[in-house]
Amino acid sequence: MAGVIRAVGRARARGEGRARPGGTIAYLFVLPAALVFALFYLWPALNTVLSSFFTWSILAPWQLADPATWQFAGLGNYVEVLTDGRFWNAAFNTAIWLVLFPIIATVLSLAIAIGIWEISRGARALRTVFVLPMTVSLTAAGVLWVLVFNPDFGVLPAALGVFGLDGANIDIGPLHLRLSEWLSNPGTLELGFATVNLVNLSAIMPAVWALTGFGVISFTAGLTAISPELIEAARLDGANRFQIARHVVVPQLRGAMVIVAVVFVIYALRTFDVVWVTTQGGPGTDSEVVAILLWREALAFFDSPSAGQATAIAVLLSAVMVIGAYPYLRSLLREAPE
């Protein structure tokens, strides 16, 4: 972190004349923000970290000002969390999200963006169809998809039924599809060391539906930046549509793909809304992701003071995200206005 700050400072020094010394006025401009940020973000964040080293319950919360109520646990909460099978189950489900969601959403949005780019008429209308769901909250998206999964009047079971596939058991190697009960047991995948309940996909689908639009927008922007000469040159060389797409277009979009994938990964790590509304982490804990476990540790497990474990999970989750997205963070900072 020190390196980053130094980088910013160096940049600042280089752009010597750009920002004027602020003096009093600077502080007045930034004071409201700093105050709100400190009180409602920094302090709670610090509190989360500090309180993760204590044992406490949400009904008798840890308070910095009241040492008498402290029950120091050192790294105890972290040890409990990291040795808890349920935590690793949640981490596993989150890992499923981490792998599947960015891949599906990125590939899909890439294909859609390129497809739309290739046609002339109706591009705008088509793009709108894929982009509009971004305004829908993940909660509402989940509700919509629960309707689609409904065994009695949902489109998915009905459509499958037309082909006689509703409830069909299809086994392909380690993949056992059941094609029914989308919200509890649509199928399993044997991975040797674990069996993945595909119900996670039922929560991932609404998220893909809602957030693919972001990829479409990003890739569309990237596509418009590709110089036509490159394409012309390839065409003159006799390349067909596919080859051009594969060898010219996609490499040019690499930067956008990274950004899109990173954003999707960040979302996957902290997903709560859509899982909460579709499966509530169930059946049992088959789709319980880290964010849901955290919430339960804080508010539902009241028979033992587990809020310390909840905050420990929050710290772990944040650490993973900051470390994992560090390069992204650096690139954001490099764009810092000087």
Partner: protein
């Protein structure tokens, strides 16, 4: 501009695929529209049975009053409206400071703000519950709203400064220098030169922030009681109850979807432009 179609034929199958796909993409929307605007008894065998379809607004009435989603929609409006206003105001001021001024701690504060774009909301969630209580925001008619607005503002400042800052940085130096020569102080430059020119960026951000706050579930679920809960929490609770009230839930979901959707449709290009200055929350 799509450079391929004129020179290479065979674009019809791309059209076909795209149209098919977009139809699939619209299925959830059709589902909710049908389930919300038709009586539940008609939907039970599949909303695609259009024979004898009737149109009804009863589900909305039920959602608004019996399911009490009306008061929750109003709560959402209050929270979102004030949050966006506060975030834009506070954020614009701060953005100007980051872009045009130098002050001690600028680098550190900027770093902290930007990191909120990556760190999940869970990092602040749990202590906020007792913290609200200490600050007196847990009780009362307007206090919980104030607390939520402040939390959303704090959480949105990183995005605000990043997005609005980049737009402000794009204002040509000549203009600000001209203002300085004319004797305008920082406030003058900010209000009369920077703000009007960075307005598109500010509007972009406001839209994105609106969508984000309006659609929030976790903060509302954890910090607010039934009287102040936003629409998202209302819908989530209806869903967990498994009451087979799909008609009411659909109407409620539409109520939740419409405001951000309308905003997007009306101000489409701002939204897209805003998203381009970085990733999405």
């Amino acid at each position: 501009m799509s450079g391929l179609r004129r020179s290479i034929g065979g674009v019809w199958w791309i059209y076909l695929l795209l149209v098919l796909f977009s139809i699939l993409w619209l299925v959830p929307v059709m589902t909710v529209l049908m389930t919300a605007f038709r009586p539940l008894s008609e939907i039970r065998d599949g909303w695609w049975n259009l024979a004898g379809a009737t149109f009804t607004l009863d589900n909305f009435v039920g959602a608004w009053s019996e399911a009490e989603l009306g008061s929750k929609a109003i709560n959402s409006a209050i929270i979102t409206g004030f949050s966006v206003a506060a975030t834009v105001t506070v954020g614009a001021l701060a953005s100007y400071a980051f872009v045009r001024l130098r002050f001690t701690g600028r680098g550190l504060l900027y770093f902290l703000l930007i990191s909120t774009m990556i760190v999940p909301v869970q990092i602040i969630l749990i202590p906020l519950l007792p913290w609200f209580r200490t600050l007196g925001f847990a009780d009362g008619t307007w206090q919980p709203f104030l607390g939520m607005v402040l939390v959303h503002t704090a959480f949105g400042l990183g995005w605000a400064v990043f997005m609005m800052g980049s737009f402000m940085a794009g204002v040509p130096r000549e203009l600000t220098e001209a203002g300085q020569i004319d004797g305008a102080g920082h406030w003058g430059i900010f209000s009369r030169i920077i703000l009007p020119l960075a307005l598109p960026g500010i509007v972009s951000f406001a839209i994105i922030d609106f969508v984000f706050v309006w659609n929030d579930l976790l903060l509302g679920l954890t910090l607010l009681d039934a009287d102040h809960a936003p629409l998202t929490v209302g819908i989530a609770n209806l869903q967990s109850a498994h009451l087979a009230q799909q008609d009411v839930i659909s109407a409620g979901a539409l109520l939740a979807i419409l405001p951000p959707l309308a905003l997007f449709v009306a101000l489409n290009r701002y939204y897209v432009r805003g998203l381009f200055s970085g990733g999405v929350k």
